[in-house]
Subunit: 461 residues, 2 copies
Amino acid sequence: MSDLSAVLDRADKNLPGSLERLFELVRIKSISTDPAYAGECRRAAEWLVKELQGLGFDASVRDTPGHPMVVAHHAGASADAPHALFYGHYDVQPVDPLALWETDPFEPTIRQEDGRDVITGRGTSDDKGQLLTFVEACRAYKEVKGALPARITILFEGEEESGSPSLKPFLEAHKEELKADFALVCDTSMWNRETPAISAGLRGLVGEEIVVKAAKRDLHSGYYGGAAANPIHVLARILAGLHDETGRVTLPGFYDGVEETPEDIKAMWQTLGLTDEAFLGEIGLSRPSGEKGRSVLELTWARPTAEVNGIEGGYTGEGFKTVIAAQASAKVSFRLVGKQDPNAIRESFRAYVRARLPEDCSVEFHAHGGSPAIQLPYDSALLAKAKEALSAEWPKPAVVIGMGGSIPIVGDFQKMLGMESMLTGFALSDDRIHSPNEKYDLNSYHRGIRSWIRILDRLAG
Amino acid sequence: MSDLSAVLDRADKNLPGSLERLFELVRIKSISTDPAYAGECRRAAEWLVKELQGLGFDASVRDTPGHPMVVAHHAGASADAPHALFYGHYDVQPVDPLALWETDPFEPTIRQEDGRDVITGRGTSDDKGQLLTFVEACRAYKEVKGALPARITILFEGEEESGSPSLKPFLEAHKEELKADFALVCDTSMWNRETPAISAGLRGLVGEEIVVKAAKRDLHSGYYGGAAANPIHVLARILAGLHDETGRVTLPGFYDGVEETPEDIKAMWQTLGLTDEAFLGEIGLSRPSGEKGRSVLELTWARPTAEVNGIEGGYTGEGFKTVIAAQASAKVSFRLVGKQDPNAIRESFRAYVRARLPEDCSVEFHAHGGSPAIQLPYDSALLAKAKEALSAEWPKPAVVIGMGGSIPIVGDFQKMLGMESMLTGFALSDDRIHSPNEKYDLNSYHRGIRSWIRILDRLAG
């Protein structure tokens, strides 16, 4: 039996104990957004520290103005072993509406669902089960070989579900301690039950709120209509002009730093078999609405967007009111890819808005966050090794995908610690995260542990 | 002391009591567009009936499918006295945003504003104060002479601010009872604080609410942005396309039936001395926003418009939410002039919207009232007599003007009862009707009562 086989074998034998440990962690009600559960959040952090200390980590609970962090360090098998920072979060979403849960959200069980064994409970998938796949991988390694193949630093956060207010200051204050060769993040999903996925692209985000102001008060549309500026008209023209007839965003310089996705990657996405019709049909739509001539996967993973997330002005209650509003407002967000610069896009948008404003109207801008896109280079060694390791464990080869959403931690690792991140995870799209009856497949947990053993082995090789 | 002087004198002496009665009526929260205030609307009708009965009117509350009408009759001093139908409305606009009111909208007070005494409260100007000027004129007449100079029928409506859904059926069902020699309507403004005005032209109105629907639920803009239709974008394009770059409305057939205003009328309006700068400066604007090359008086009195009165979609609370809304809605109104057909314009708008809808989106339309424009001939005897009476009361002679707003009743009187209407009123352009801090000048109320005494006297002479 090879070294690796022995470690994998140990993980299999450890599974009942691994499940016991996951159950213990899930029983701790670490709901970060509700101050009533602050003590439970601390208990989860303390539980993790104790487990990691038991594996030989130098682990401790670190206080923050919010819920504590867990930081742990373990040496590698050799001085030239790579140094990985592993990130996960121990906090969970609230459980209401409680009446919709079929089992107690904090009393995990294993039950059958569609012929599969699933572990029920809040946080089983997001993110307690996922983070423990890595801890249990370390356990099997340690038990078989007495050492870890890589130098490991672990960072577990307790505020991921409530906006991570303490994270940036903590990274800033502990840069030297936390910086590694690269980061490993386990908070994402598989492509499907047979196919693991690595998320290589994460779109960035710029949020802007604009308030267009015209007359100094609301006006009667009979007396003033046809003569007085209507801020809703001004706003509608501004928003309507954000896209041209081909669906492209019209802001000057918007596409600076956007590169076309390589043909081989697009070809790989083609093989995933997710048609535009299937993607859109699930939400009651039938045709892509963005840039013409691109698939929904390309549109959501690799292309930037401008979206109006909210609009409000004038009378919106029951019935009708013939008013010309004094002001109208919109919340607009831009998803960024490649090397698009959040500040440049914010400024381009503001200049675009100002240029379309009648001279007797004014506008207020309110910034709501900005982060660049993250792209792990398709030729990165980290990516290639993780892909090989995952492909060895699962029935189908790992796929490299994009992600439409933003995971701020990955941008912070890049910007503050200069580290690239490899994101993989074993959640499934039917895990009902953030909803009642969250679950994590037993298979996700078991093969997730084995996957990290293979990844650690390959990264050290 | 002549008969007329004695009546005018009585109106002066009655003023404190007249104000008490106005305050009582303003305290009744008769917001017609909000079903929660249906009981208050009925209370206002009952209050008016009681007042009119006290003056010797045969008055009653008349039920409708909506809010009730008030109908009252009083004989004239002689059998050959003319018969006038007086119209006003007791319902008022909603008061939100309540936070912007400096006094309770339903607890009227008299306070100083720019050196004038003004009566504060919702409906003081539109239209409770105005309709009571006529009732109080009747009171003074009755008290001094024991009779009214003309036969009077009164019609008070409770749905004017919510599209008057019950009015047409009510007129149709009570044609014989309501038909008079002419109608007097008190729901308009003075030209300025010294110059009374008679409105000879009234714009019509078409109200439409549209709801654009896209995905079957709200979407995460990270996962779906760039691929899924955004109903706010669709709506913004529809609304932005309603006007071309010269300010003209783009709907096919929209200008059918619109005639250019005669040059002599435009020349008279020129002499009124109201510059674009003055008209717009008062509301904090500086340049006409509608059709290019026309004065604000022409734009608001004699040209049709399309205005968005309200818009709503997506997340509009504090902060930011990266959502793509399932639907977005807007309330749109069209002001009509000349012989524009309300039904044709509604259909043209609906066809325009449908043509701009992506194939996987849908739209709902909700009609909110429709009425054609009205024009009282400039050589009418009714107009001439009212002009003389008003000119005797106020510092400056009365002027004959157009009106931007819509008073559907005037079209219905014309069409259904074959009556012309003489519109005059004592509101001022700074009364903030439909807005927070609505007020009515004490002088408007006092001289308004005196004006109706003079008009009744002149019409009977």
